[in-house]
Amino acid sequence: MVSAQLLAPLVPALPLAGAVIIAALRRRLSGHAAGLLATALIGGSFLCSVLLFLGFDPAGGAQVAHLFDWIRVADMRVGLAFQVDALSLTMMLIVTGVGTLIHLYSIGYMHDDPRQSTFFALLNLFTFAMLLLVMGANYAVTFIGWEGVGLCSYLLIGFWYTNPAYNYAARKAFVMNRIGDVGFVLGLALVFQVFGTLDYTTVMGRADGFATGAPALTAITLLLFVGAIGKSAQLPLFTWLPDAMAGPTPVSALIHAATMVTAGIFLLVRSSALFVLAPLTQDVVLVTGLVTALCAATIGVFQNDIKKVLAYSTVSQLGYMFVALGLGAFSAGLFHVTTHAFFKALLFLGAGSVIHALGGEQDIRRMGGLRSATPSTYRTFLVGTLAIAGIFPLSGFFSKDAILAHAYQHSPWIYALLVAGAVLTTYYMFRLLFLVFFGSYRGQAHPHESPAVMTAPLWVLAVLSVVGGALNLPHVFGGHEPMKHFLASAASGVGLEHLHLSALLEWSLMGFSTALVLLTIWIAYGRFAKQATLDPEAEALPVPQRWAARKWYLDELYERLFEKPYGWLSTNLSALLEQRVMQPLMVGVGGTAERIGELLRRVQTGNLSTYLFAMVAGLLLFLFLTLNGL
């Protein structure tokens, strides 16, 4: 077995090499070759991750591969180091595994795009940054990756840069993320001030010395959570994610569903030792996640763009994950990250396949009856939908149920709200499924099934979505929650999880939510499959629905609260400060110099005799002064 010291740096190095090579040769390399190279390198990275996983012993603790000292100032010593432990391995396998499939799919999806090589270079660069984020052995390295994925996200959302709306969406994502990043940076500074280091192992080790509810820890965790809010699209910063659907669909699948948006959850699990000591922050996390989950789910019900529905679903599912973290169920949260990566990537790629089949159409009101035209896409999409709805025995059932059980233990009210969210999720997902694949076709295009290079990843992800639940099979099904025990070696918060519900109660909770979900499917079937009930535009809806369809007026609210005042301030500052103060000042300085010049230029007569006289006179003056001893 090759040592982790050698293999670990190789995992992010391969995609980085891919990005550099493709970017350098993008004019000479054909798009197809670039795609193959990019896919092969991510595949290699996945292979390295698997080897690391096989050679990893949870009992041995984290293995740190220290490359070199990056920052060394006074007491501060930050190394570029990679940490291989249960948590980073889980994330590495998701990022490289799902990433390989999405790269493969992109070869088919992007085959007629003139800037294919650029696309693959950026996709590889993103994977590199994401691996840096999850593998960093200290907050600083994670932060480089954190910023890197933000940049790649920006570049890929605005990939089709000739459309101004897409550029606007990219900018919105960037700015929203930046707001969160400020929190992260401040959190980082505070971590260094309190703990004197940024290394994860040292910080988590020293956290034991603090009392529960220590103000320093509460501040740190709150700031880190602000960072997580931005990256993982939670209230109040989630509005960028639905707009980010402007990017190509594989980007939505990889960045805005499977990997980057889960970075916030990763960060919280990574710092779980701090969060378990800050109950206030945990409550904030819980409430934020809960409100976001419900808010996004209600908006999702009224969306007519196939990708927007999935985007709001992603925001809602991320909310579930934060609820799990807020409840202290770190392993349940990460379990949901894993299964969500499988089925949401599957759903996005399926949506991409539908869009591809219809030649760019994204409005579900102009779809329908695609079951026969695109059989592979239909079957895999059905699997994804069943998984996200949480139908036994698909992966979504187990991961969602774990969160629900923890919620019931904490408070039946949270449980009830989460079940309501699950019902909404089921409703809008089956609405999407029925409107797209059932009934008769309502558009003008000629649907055709996507090539094998696109359907193969769909099938692989479908299989993973089915069997993914086995990763953390709960006790009531005869499992031993292997993922939880695996993660317990990396995140000390996992070890504090306790679920002590009786088996009977667990069975009835599962039965209750499953019954509601099945009922919802039946209602959705009646409304959308038999005859397609198409929603009118948002303005035509009755009042409570219209509010949800208009995204609870969040964009308008932000416009009123921030954009308008900012615009007002800029206009007024321009009129007052710029025009009245700065402009006269600057013009005055320039004008003075000009007037002095106007006077002094008369000295330059152009007459050589005059110059000579002046020169001699000057020399005589100096001579005189020298002789007088001055």
């Binding site: 230029r601 008369r602 330059q604 007569t605 152009g606 007459n607 050589l608 005799s609 000579l612 006289f613 001699v616």
Partner: protein, 109 residues
């Protein structure tokens, strides 16, 4: 060589200084008041040579050969300077058909 030095020493140093001063002043006055560029160049030479004379005189009276070495440098530079000066003069004649220094007054404001 010694004869030359002793010959120079026959005349008191003050006289050399006076003569040099007179020559330098004449040169300077010519440079300042004459408008013919050829005359100005000649007056410049006069100023150079007055300095050369002074250097030689001091060198002989103080028994220091450094002054005489300096004279050779000055003569070399003066030769180069005259070459450039005369070249400018030829160009000036061709361009403005005059050697009047006040014709060259376009380089202003």
């Amino acid at each position: 060589m010694n004869e030359v030095v002793s010959a120079i020493r026959l005349v008191p140093l003050e006289h050399y200084v006076m003569l040099s001063f007179a020559l330098f002043s004449i040169g300077l006055a010519g440079v300042l008041f004459r408008r013919n560029t050829i005359i100005i160049l000649m007056c410049l030479e006069l100023m150079f040579n007055s300095v050369n004379l002074l250097l030689t005189a001091f060198s002989a009276h103080h028994s220091d050969p450094g002054g005489q070495v300096f004279v050779f440098f000055i003569m070399l530079v003066a030769a180069a300077e005259v070459t450039v000066g005369l070249a400018i003069l030829v160009m000036m004649k061709r361009n403005v058909d005059s050697v009047d220094i006040d014709q060259l007054n376009r380089l202003r404001w």
